[in-house]
């Protein structure tokens, strides 16, 4: 198993290199003079030139790329114009908010998708199948931001069930001491259960919005993989051997169906990282997505490339985890490497 992990880590290296190259290209095609951005708004021609040399921007493309990689290795992602701080500090503060939102949504999407998918497969054209159908259709056709707005309009403006959609916590509450950065967990760790409840209320709408788009694909793949598995030759063998229905369903059916589901989960996560930008924008969520969009709009480009790098890195990590789980379930993958 360690060999599998090692192999997958090695396989991720070319991806990482590719991502750095693309991030570099995106930075270089940005309009305007990068040195001028890095030097800051008050820079004179001389300081800009100085910055250019410091950043290695006066060299050939290869030199520039090496200088860029050198910066990355030092953890230097540049300074944000709007906040005036190093991007890496802004990110460190805001990343937990994004992660809390995305991971909860991912968990709900996986759980909901699998439940709906299995239920639909057990009774094609039954009630669960129809519910899954509708959930999936809405997820495919309704834009993320539009669904978020509709939920806000209904549950906040009309029904007033949800709190005001402005960030992680209303200003009337004091946030928990940061331990994990996941406020819900921190609140529980500190025994502040009322705060936990409030945090959940605040999280509910953005998490549902984000999760909705994952439930559809996961349910769809679970359903068809389950139906394929249940009509497969090996389930027929298990039936002919007189195994219990429960054993057949889970140990023979689901165990094999889970492989394509895992694969889809990777794509769903990728999609969520993207949709995350829109959801944070709609719900005023103080994560890195909203931060980056604000930065883009004022032509503050350092956060953009940092954002792309962080997102790609996250994606690689999650896919690595999915690969490992897949290898645990599927012996064919295990021996491929």
């Amino acid at each position: 198993m360690t060999r599998v992990i090692g192999f997958r880590l090695l396989a991720a290296i070319p991806n990482l290199v590719g991502i750095i190259v693309i991030a570099f290209i995106v930075t270089r095609i940005l309009p305007g003079d990068a040195a001028a951005y890095y030097a800051g708004p008050t820079a004179t021609a001389a300081t800009i030139e100085e910055t250019r040399q410091r950043l290695g921007l006066d060299g050939t493309v290869v030199e520039q790329f090496l200088a860029y990689v050198g910066q990355l290795v030092r953890g230097d992602l540049g300074d944000s114009l709007s906040s005036g701080q190093p991007v890496i500090e802004d990110f460190a503060r805001r990343l937990p908010a994004s992660l809390e939102l995305t991971l909860y949504a991912l968990i709900i999407a996986i759980a909901g998708g699998i439940l709906l998918g299995v239920g639909a497969a057990l009774r094609p054209r039954g009630v669960v199948d129809r519910i899954a159908s509708v959930v999936s259709a809405v997820g495919q056709a309704v834009p993320t931001f539009f669904l978020g707005l509709i939920l806000i309009f209904v549950f906040y403006y009309i029904l007033n069930w949800a709190p005001e959609p402005l960030g992680r916590l209303s200003f009337m509450y004091r946030p928990p001491q940061p331990i994990s950065g996941f406020w819900t967990i921190d609140a529980l760790l500190q025994g502040r259960f009322d705060l936990f409840g409030e945090l959940v209320r605040q999280l509910a709408l953005p998490v549902i919005t984000l999760a909705w788009f994952g439930i559809g694909p996961i349910a769809r793949v679970t359903r068809s993989a389950m139906l394929d598995a249940l009509s497969s030759d090996f389930v027929r063998t298990a039936r002919a051997a007189g195994l219990r229905r429960r054993t057949i369903l889970w140990r023979y059916g689901f165990r094999n169906a889970v492989i394509p589901v895992l694969h889809t989960t990777g794509m769903v996560f990728s999609f969520m990282l993207g949709a995350n930008v829109l959801v944070e924008d709609v719900f005023g969520w103080p994560g890195i997505g909203a931060y980056t969009v604000d930065a883009v709009l004022v032509a503050d480009y350092a956060p953009v490339q940092a954002y792309i790098l962080v997102m790609a890195a996250l994606y690689i990590v999650v896919n690595l985890a999915i690969d490992v789980v897949t290898a645990l379930v599927d012996p064919r993958v295990r021996y491929d490497s």
């Binding site: 030759d233 027929r236 063998t237 051997a241 007189g242 219990r244 140990r251 023979y252 165990r255 012996p331």
Partner: protein, 335 residues
């Protein structure tokens, strides 16, 4: 109760060996709301220790019959039968009764064994699942039973092979595993659905040798589904020939192979390369199975048969005894 009555009353004993273990009468299977049955009025017996080969070309309905008896017909089909009696237990229209027998008294092996085993469980685990279903065993005893089961189907190095996954084994090895799986419940009847289709001839012979040996040792009845008349001749005691869902001839394997009485069986035999001295002796069969979505002639071979008369198209021929020792469903059997 005194000694005298005890002598007069017959002792309670299992059925005599001559009584069929499996008796099928008037089995018809309808698909998709069709009026014309895909399998029509099929009847046959299998005695303990006997191998009956159900032979037919693709689409003849042989696998459907096997799946129906085992109660694992996948598609929504309507089954009607006068009786499907197994060891005196009526199975027709009683899914619960079949369920109780499946995997224990009735075992089954399929073609394409590698696909018929779950790719994500080791073969030992899959055999273990079946053994654990039939016998309560502790961990170590279960492991021993798994190895024993693999050894009994002549798998070399069973301890190591128990940990292997289907994709790591050859097709022949997978078929042995499936045989071990089917045998785990010590069945009285084994339904072998084209168990060697897709395997090489030498592997096929090894598997069928093993199957025959096991059946002989345990006096197990075997329903052997195959498209290969030659194999049926080599490995079965009796042969039943299916054409388009109708059973056309039944008899001792050598007799059917060497002196078929039904025109279809005769043509089928003439198409077997092993029977032909030269290529000129080979005979094809004109036409194809009738389309079951519309009206069909009473004898479904009538339109392809050079001996057919008007009666063949309007009156279904029943299986009647033909000399020397078989049965044929034909108004004008060869003779």
């Amino acid at each position: 109760m005194n000694a005298l009555t005890a002598i007069i009353e017959p002792p309670p004993s299992p059925l005599p060996d001559s009584a069929p273990l499996l008796a099928v009468r008037g089995l018809s299977i309808f698909f998709g709301g069709r009026i014309v049955p895909t399998v029509q009025d099929v009847s046959f017996d299998i005695a303990r220790g006997e191998t009956l080969a159900l032979v037919g070309e693709s689409g003849s309905g042989k696998s459907i019959i096997a799946h129906t008896i085992a109660g694992i017909l996948a598609s929504a089909a309507t089954v009607s039968a006068t009786t499907i009696s197994f060891n005196g237990i009526e199975l027709a229209g009683k899914p619960a009764a079949v369920e109780a027998l499946r995997g224990r008294r009735i075992g089954m092996v399929f073609q394409n064994a590698r696909a018929a085993l779950s790719p994500t469980l080791s073969v030992g685990a899959q055999i273990g699942d079946v053994i654990a279903r039939h016998r309560r065993l502790r961990r170590t005893a279960l492991r021993a039973a798994i190895v024993q089961a693999l050894a009994s189907v002549k798998i070399p190095d069973p301890e190591r092979r128990a940990k292997a996954y289907p994709h790591e084994l050859s097709g022949g090895m997978c078929q042995r595993v499936m045989l071990a799986l089917a045998m785990a419940g010590e069945p009285d009847l084994l339904i072998a659905d084209e168990p060697t289709t897709g395997l090489d001839n030498t592997t096929q012979a090894a598997i069928l040798d093993l199957l025959a040996a096991e059946a002989g040792r345990r006096r197990m009845a075997t329903l052997f589904i195959t498209h290969d008349l030659g194999l049926a001749r080599d490995y079965a005691d009796r042969v039943a020939v299916l054409h388009a869902g109708q059973l056309v001839e039944e008899g001792r394997a050598a007799t059917v192979f060497d002196a078929p009485r039904h025109p279809y069986s005769a043509k089928l035999v003439r198409a077997v390369p092993a029977k032909a001295a030269t290529v000129a002796d080979l005979g094809g069969i004109p036409g194809k199975f009738p389309d079951l979505s519309g009206p069909v002639p009473a004898c479904r071979f009538a339109d392809r048969c050079d001996r057919a008369v008007d009666r063949c198209r309007v009156e279904v021929p029943r299986l009647e005894p033909v000399p020397p020792d078989g049965m044929a469903a034909c108004w004008r059997p060869l003779g």
